[in-house]
């Protein structure tokens, strides 16, 4: 029986398949089913500071709207301090999940303000999360901001959050970085215990009938695996942080590829959103079967086995364009 276990962020996991941040973790019952189906850890949906701020200001606006303006109606909605916006709901969910499942629960946070990042990180820790994943992204639209400015800010932020909490810290990053290895190393040096590759974003689309922008997030396919696969292969062994692959993990083969590239865990969400928790069993079974057939003893054995430093042709990871290569040649003595 091959050993499927792995470690991620210092957490001992029974296998490398982790549920990545998605609405699946919004229901305790659903999380319990994921655990029963064999998932090794759950990254929660993100606590979006921006959303809390937005909801808070929105509630304030509409409770104020029209108030104290007209003698017959001092307000138009009830208040009485009964209705509130706070991260409590999220934090309660962290605590609720921790109570309901035995697998590690990793909180996820997307902040906007410096104070917000650290204070919410602390709150998630206090709520009982086993680790924290920072969901960092920045769509740079300002012509005056350089890539260096953005990276400096993010590195600084990681250091601040790291110093604010004791639980392990992972950082989910965007692929749109000019020099990913350098940035990854800086994040690790700033205190990131893990790097999650990659964040996927809503991409605006055009509705040609209405001439409007529409937003949608397509679920990933196995084809989306390639991008993180390349970068995990490149980074493996070069940064002092656990690597997690997310995007395009649908089959046991995808998991295998992730492991061989050097990931400690493979994260999946689209597959679970599409097929439900029943998708987990077959992946793990087939993973085990595959390993048995190929006589792999453990996951650890294969982790990084096809990373850039382990393969015969490291340059394969560096090519960006197809080059017609008739054959290899080498200097012989």
């Amino acid at each position: 029986m091959p050993d499927l276990s792995t470690t991620y962020l210092g957490l001992k996991l029974k296998n490398p398949l982790v549920a990545s941040a998605s609405p699946l973790s919004k229901k305790v019952e659903r999380a319990r089913k994921l655990e029963e189906a064999g998932i090794a850890a759950i990254v929660m949906y993100s606590l979006f500071e921006e959303q809390i701020i937005h909801e808070s200001l929105e509630l304030d606006h509409f409770l104020n709207r029209g108030s104290e303006s007209y003698a017959e109606a001092m307000s138009y909605l009830p208040d009485g301090g009964l209705y509130g916006i706070s991260p409590e709901k999220y934090l309660n969910q962290v605590a609720g999940l921790k109570k309901a499942v035995n697998i590690p629960v990793i909180g996820s946070l997307n902040g906007v303000s410096k104070g917000g990042w650290t204070s919410y990180a602390r709150k998630i820790e206090e709520a009982g999360a086993d680790a924290l994943e920072l969901n960092m992204y920045y769509i740079a639209t300002d012509m005056d901001i350089t890539s260096g400015d953005i990276e400096d800010t993010q590195v600084e932020l990681v250091a601040e959050v790291k110093s604010a909490i004791k639980i392990p810290l992972a950082v989910k990053i965007s692929p749109f970085v000019t020099s990913l290895p350098n940035f990854a190393r800086r994040l690790a040096e700033a205190g990131a215990d893990g790097l999650v590759l990659f964040n996927r974003f809503y991409q605006p689309d055009f509705d040609l009938d209405e001439l409007e922008i529409v937003h949608s997030l397509d679920l990933s396919t196995s084809a989306d695996l390639r991008l993180p696969l390349r970068w995990i292969s490149i980074l493996h062994g070069k940064v002092n942080a656990d690597l997690a692959l997310t995007s395009g993990v649908h089959t046991h083969k995808d998991v295998l590829k992730a492991m061989m590239a050097g990931a400690k865990v493979a994260m999946t969400a689209s597959n679970l959103l599409h097929n439900g928790e029943q998708a987990i069993g077959p992946i793990l079974n087939e993973l085990e079967e595959w390993m048995k057939e190929r006589e792999y003893e453990s996951i650890g054995q294969m982790q990084g086995s096809m990373s850039q430093t382990s393969v015969k042709e490291p340059a394969a990871f560096e090519r960006a364009n197809y080059m017609k290569v008739l054959g290899s040649y080498r200097d012989l003595p």
Binding site: S56, R65, G66, Y70, P78
Partner: protein, 1185 residues
């Protein structure tokens, strides 16, 4: 132990006692008492318990009549029960009040006393409502201040339990109900020692119980009814002593002592004024002031008015009294005197003190100011050898000459009292900030403090006034801060300077704080002459703060509250600056903490940056300005508008004499056009290069400020260069016609609905439309001229317009314009459409509510006339009777048509058979037919005009009825679903030709968003704070069940064409028609600019299915029900969670929100399925399946 002091208003002070002393509370919203019900509902929702440890059950009823019935039932079964009401609400309770009293039932009703609708409705305070129930057998206990309202709520409860006589505890609407004052709180411990539990057990034991069955409510005959009516006498005889006993016990516990009649003033007073309510407080303070100066004057404050204890009254009077003036805050036309006056006269006669001369007078109706100067005027009158009896004080009555002369320079304000007046915009939070400030001053310093707030009658762009007083002595001044009395005047909106004279309040050496876009060095030149003059002459200290900038930078938007509050504390120095800031921040956390950290943070930032932006202005010695304050209405306005309405707009309404007014409440229409409010920061600007002339912007505009016209292009010869136009694309009016979309820049509210609905997108820049918003100030003058030019272009002849398309219908002139409704109001587009389609022959019955307020509140009203002087004739009767009121209009028309036709047939010989036949059989299904009939009627009048025959004269008077009239019954869901439903049902059942338009906002919008039966499941509303647990009543389905009622459910934002079609069909149907119109409202809690999208989602989700049910189709063998929306294609939640009213429930109780949303989804599904099945039924009797 220090007594707990709190700063609260009269409503809260009362409700806090009532909630603690009752088990069942039946409520219904009515201004100014609604807040008491809201407090009770809120406290029970929060789990607050009564004195005996159980949470009072609060239930909203369908009307005050219903509330009284429920109270009666609850009392009969032994619960401690109360209700809160005012005005018409109290009148609706009268039948039950007789019952409750007749059955000697202990209860207290708390009433924020308010005017009764007579020649006009008024929400403000007087004693007309209370005086209308003085004969019901209830004890009437009057409190005159916030402290008294708090105290008497308890004393009334103590007294009723002991006496078994029901008590009506009342205080002055607004003046006391809404005044914030510093009071000593009655603690739970106090209440426990005041209320005797044995009496409660006795009350409970009298309740109906099948284990000890009794019968109550028998029918009696001449033999015994009379005797039993007299059997209660001893209870009434005992009540005064019981009440005094309660007052004495109360004094022992709290230290505050009251008597049935309290006397104040000189011990040997010769002139005494008798009054009750807050006016009594003013009288008391004034006589104390004068008595201290040696004048032999006194005051008797009436606490217990019914049963009227003659003996106690006589005892309260010093022996020295020679004359009495009894002041009534009510009016009984035709009576020999007002009630209190008559009671006083009677008491003196019965007490054999007829030697005392008595005069009576009226004051303070509808919260008319009642000041010490007026009390002085009364006292002075009493000194005259022949004083006026039945006088009035506080108005100038130049018709009946009842009024007394008042010297306004007589003021008694304590030197140590600091008075502050603030002018704000409704939406800028000024009132909220001032409530907060006065609370801080009252609760965090040793000062006594008072706050009173005043609003104009519009719902958007409102000017608010806050009057704050504080000082070392208790503030007992239930009147506004008087002229030249304010130590501090603040103007929170710079634009007010050009129209409001606010410095008239400032005393010499006062401080003036201005929110200004201009800094300390530039501001002077931007002030009107009058303002500069006052600043110089009154030697004002002048400060500016750029609150707009601070608000912008700190994310406060248009909210000036925190900023101006901080500036006030910083300048006034009431508290040390650091302490003041700490208190403000503490208040912010308390008020907004629950809303989230971000809200607290932005307010904190606003506090901090205010101090950095506050400057004192070095006041120049000379007036340098060239600008003068604007006139309230232009000089070309009609005389009545200039001299009456204009004065009201200019805040001089109090000075208008009686003679200036119509005697019967009749006003000219079309007056909003003269009140240019200029409240929009941005207005729509038309792009004629890409417009497709669809007319949708015109249709959707809630304020009728955007219009389009097709006209003879030759008229452009006189147009200015900036007047935009393009060739007409209308099929019927193409060659030689020009087309213009024009905006009224000074009337627009800036809601942006026109931009939202515009279907055109600029191909080179899709963010631009054929209508785009641009800043108003640079466009104001030019576009105002263009608007005037546009308006003098003749409207197309209605005969030529087929109104069945949107673009054509919008060529019809709106006869409902520039109302005071909220920006983006979802009701007014429907009302306006009615006015366009049928306004020139419409008679409108309008239920009380938002539509009667924006439709009929002075100073100016929006119902207008066309170029021929025709337009809707409008009236508001009440809230509860609108359908019947409208039916009455129909009945008159029907009868008069019938009579006119009868008369007409008698004139066949004189007029010719053909002409008479044409008049009798005129086809009037469209405007062409109607116009032809109008011409015939004109000819008829002309022909009959020469006749001296009495029947001919009658026919001339009735002939207009031969032209088809359109009767519209308009109101909101509170009326149609709740209070007026019985009448509505009956009117529909009558089969008469009336058109009923229900503006369904799904809450009582006008009184601030209380739940109605139209409120959907899962939405939060006042009185449904935990989310409404039951589905919306299906009014349309009920109406359809008659089979002969035309019913349409429409949503203009989702399908304007369907709305138009339904209106035309409903009006054309010769029977009752009901249109239920989806009306977005600010009480839904979303940006009203998004209301069109939201209407679409409401329809797509199945929340608001659209249909028309035309009984005429059944006659043709077709199914009358045509469903016009598609099967629900999105979940209800996708529609609902765009609205705060639904989202709030998720913030309160997520599990309940989920459950109710699931049920709401099921409601939508079931409704849809039912309608589908109904629409699938076949109506052709011959056809077999």
């Amino acid at each position: 132990m220090k007594k707990p002091v709190i700063m609260i208003d009269g409503n809260e002070a009362t409700a806090s006692v009532a909630h603690r002393l009752n088990e069942v509370i039946a409520i219904y919203p009515i201004t100014p008492s609604s807040n008491m019900g809201e407090f009770a509902d809120e406290w029970s929702a929060k789990g607050k318990k009564n004195l005996w440890g159980t949470i009072p059950l609060v239930v909203e009823m369908q009307s005050e009549g219903g509330a009284a019935g429920a109270v009666h039932g609850a009392l009969q079964t032994g619960a401690l029960t109360t209700t809160f009401t005012a005005s018409q609400g109290l009148l609706l309770m009268i039948p039950n009040m007789y019952k409750i009293a007749g059955e000697l039932t202990s209860t207290v009703f708390h009433v924020a006393a308010r005017s009764i609708a007579a020649h006009a409705l008024s929400i403000y305070g007087d004693h007309q409502d209370v005086m209308a129930v003085r004969q019901t057998g209830w004890a009437l206990l009057s409190s005159g201040s916030v402290q008294e309202a708090h105290d008497f709520a308890a004393i009334a409860q103590m007294s009723t339990l002991k006496s078994r006589v029901p008590f009506l505890h009342f205080f002055d609407g607004f003046r006391t109900s809404h005044e914030v004052n510093k009071i000593y709180q009655i603690t739970d411990e106090d209440l426990r020692s005041l209320v005797d539990d044995e009496l409660i057990r006795a009350h409970r034991a009298r309740g109906l119980n099948p284990n000890t069955p009794v019968l109550r409510g028998s029918a009696q005959n001449p033999d015994v009814y009379f005797q039993m009516r007299e059997a209660v006498n001893k209870y009434y005889a005992a009540t005064p002593a019981i009440t005094q006993e309660a007052m004495d016990k109360f004094a022992k516990v709290t230290g505050r002592h009251y008597n049935l009649f309290d006397y104040y003033g000189h011990p040997e007073a010769e002139r005494v004024v008798v009054a009750m309510g807050s006016g009594g407080e003013t009288v008391e303070e004034t006589v104390k002031y004068l008595a201290a100066k040696g004048e032999k004057v006194g005051a008797v404050r009436v606490r217990l008015y019914r049963p009227f204890p003659v003996e106690h009254f006589l005892k309260a009077l010093p022996k020295s009294v020679k004359s009495i003036a009894a002041l009534d805050r009510t009016k009984e036309p035709g009576a020999s005197g007002e009630p209190l006056y008559l009671d006083v006269v009677n008491a003196l006669v019965e007490g054999q003190r007829s030697n005392i001369k008595v005069i009576g007078g009226r004051y303070g109706l509808s919260s008319k100011e009642f000041t010490p100067a007026m009390v002085k005027a009364v006292l002075d009158e009493m000194s005259k050898p022949e004083p006026k009896n039945h006088f009035t004080v506080g108005i100038h009555d130049d018709v009946s000459h009842t009024s007394l002369e008042v010297d306004p320079s007589f003021q008694i304000e304590d030197e140590g009292t600091v008075s502050c007046v603030f002018f704000g915009l409704g939406s800028d939070g000024t009132v909220g900030a001032n409530k907060n400030s006065i609370k801080i001053i009252g609760e965090e310093t040793d000062n006594f403090a008072q706050g009173y707030f005043y609003y104009d009658s519009k719902k958007s762009g409102t000017v608010t006034m806050s009057h704050l007083r504080f000082g070392p002595k208790p503030i007992r001044a239930p009147y506004l801060i008087e002229l030249n009395q304010a130590n501090f005047v603040a103007c929170h909106q710079f634009t007010f300077l050009e129209r409001v004279n606010m410095l008239k309040y400032a005393k010499t050496g006062a401080t003036f704080l201005l929110n200004s876009l201009y800094g300390p060095d530039e501001v002077w030149e931007q002030l009107p002459v009058e303002v500069q003059k006052d600043i110089i002459e009154k030697k004002l200290k002048f400060f500016v703060i750029n609150g707009y900038d601070v608000a912008e930078k700190t994310g406060m938007g248009g909210r000036m509250n925190t900023i101006m509050q901080t500036a006030f504390f910083a300048i006034s120095g009431i508290l040390p600056r650091e302490a003041a800031i700490a208190e403000i921040k503490h208040a912010i956390e308390k008020s907004y903490g629950k809303r989230g950290e971000a809200v607290v943070r932005k307010n904190f930032e606003a506090v901090d940056s205010t101090l950095e932006n506050l400057y004192e202005v070095k006041v120049p010695a000379e007036i340098t300005s060239k600008m003068t304050r604007r006139q309230p209405v232009p000089s070309e306005a009609p005389k009545f508008v200039r001299e009456v309405l204009g004065e009201i707009i200019g805040a001089n309404g109090d000075t208008i004499p009686v003679s200036a007014f119509p005697v019967d409440g009749t006003f000219p229409t079309g007056t909003t056009q003269w009140e240019k409010r200029n409240i929009a920061l941005e207005i729509p600007v038309w792009d004629e290069n890409i417009c497709i002339q669809c007319g949708k912007c015109v249709m959707v505009c809630p304020h009728a400020v955007i219009r389009h016209k097709v006209y003879d292009e030759k008229l452009l010869a006189d147009a200015s260069e900036s007047f935009k136009h393009m060739p007409s694309k209308f099929k019927e009016f193409s060659q030689g016609y020009a087309y213009t979309v024009q905006v009224a820049p000074e009337d627009c509210t800036g809601c942006t609905l026109c931009v939202e609905i515009c279907p055109v997108k600029d191909k080179t820049q899709v963010g631009r439309k054929a209508i785009n918003m641009e800043p108003q100030p640079p466009l104001r003058e030019q576009e105002a001229k263009n608007w005037d030019f546009f308006m003098q272009i003749p409207d197309l002849d209605r005969k030529l317009i087929n109104p069945s398309t949107i673009k054509n219908s919008q060529l019809l002139r709106p006869l409902f314009e520039f109302s005071g409704a909220c920006a983006g109001c979802g009701e007014t587009p429907y009302v306006k459409l009615v006015s366009q389609l049928f306004g020139d022959r419409a008679v409108i019955a309008n239920a009380t509510g938002c539509s009667s307020i924006y439709g009929g509140n002075l100073p100016t009203t929006p119902w207008a006339v066309d170029s021929k002087g025709r337009g809707p004739a409008w009236s508001n009767s009440l809230f509860e009777d609108n359908a019947e009121f409208g039916l009455g209009m129909r009945l008159t028309i029907d009868k008069q048509v019938e009579y006119a036709r009868e008369l007409l047939t008698g004139f066949e010989k004189e007029l010719g058979r053909e002409f008479v036949s044409a008049l009798l059989n005129a086809e009037q299904s469209d405007d062409a037919g109607i116009e032809a009939q109008r011409e015939r009627v004109a000819e008829l009048k002309e022909k009959l005009g020469r006749s001296s025959d009495a029947r001919a004269r009658d026919l001339i008077g009735l002939a207009d009825n031969l032209v088809k009239k359109s009767v519209w019954i308009i109101g909101g869901d509170g009326w149609a679903y709740d209070i007026g439903y019985g009448g509505l049902d009956h009117v529909m059942a009558s089969g008469r030709n009336v058109n009923i338009l229900v503006l369904d906002t799904e809450v009582y919008s006008n009184t601030g968003g209380q739940a109605s039966k139209a409120t959907p499941r899962a939405a939060v509303a006042k009185f449904a704070m935990g989310g409404k647990g039951l589905p919306k009543k299906d009014l349309g389905l009920i109406a359809m069940s008659y089979g002969y009622v035309y019913v349409a459910r429409v949503a203009m934002g989702a399908n304007d064409q369907q709305t138009l079609r339904a209106m035309l069909e409903a009006e054309s149907y010769d029977g009752p028609s009901l249109i239920i119109a989806y009306s977005p409202c600010i009480a839904h809690g979303y940006d009203m600019a998004r209301s069109l999208d939201q209407a679409k989602l409401a329809v797509q989700s199945g929340h608001w299915p659209m249909y028309r049910y035309d009984p005429r189709l059944a006659g043709q063998g077709q199914n009358p029900l045509i469903i016009e929306s598609k099967e629900p294609s999105i979940p209800i939640s996708q529609y609902a969670y765009n609205e705060t009213r639904y989202k709030m429930l998720t913030q309160l109780d997520e599990a309940r929100a989920e459950e109710l949303m699931r049920e709401a989804q099921q409601d939508a599904k079931s409704r849809w399925t039912l309608y589908q099945q109904m629409a699938a039924m076949h109506y052709n009797g011959d056809k077999k399946e």
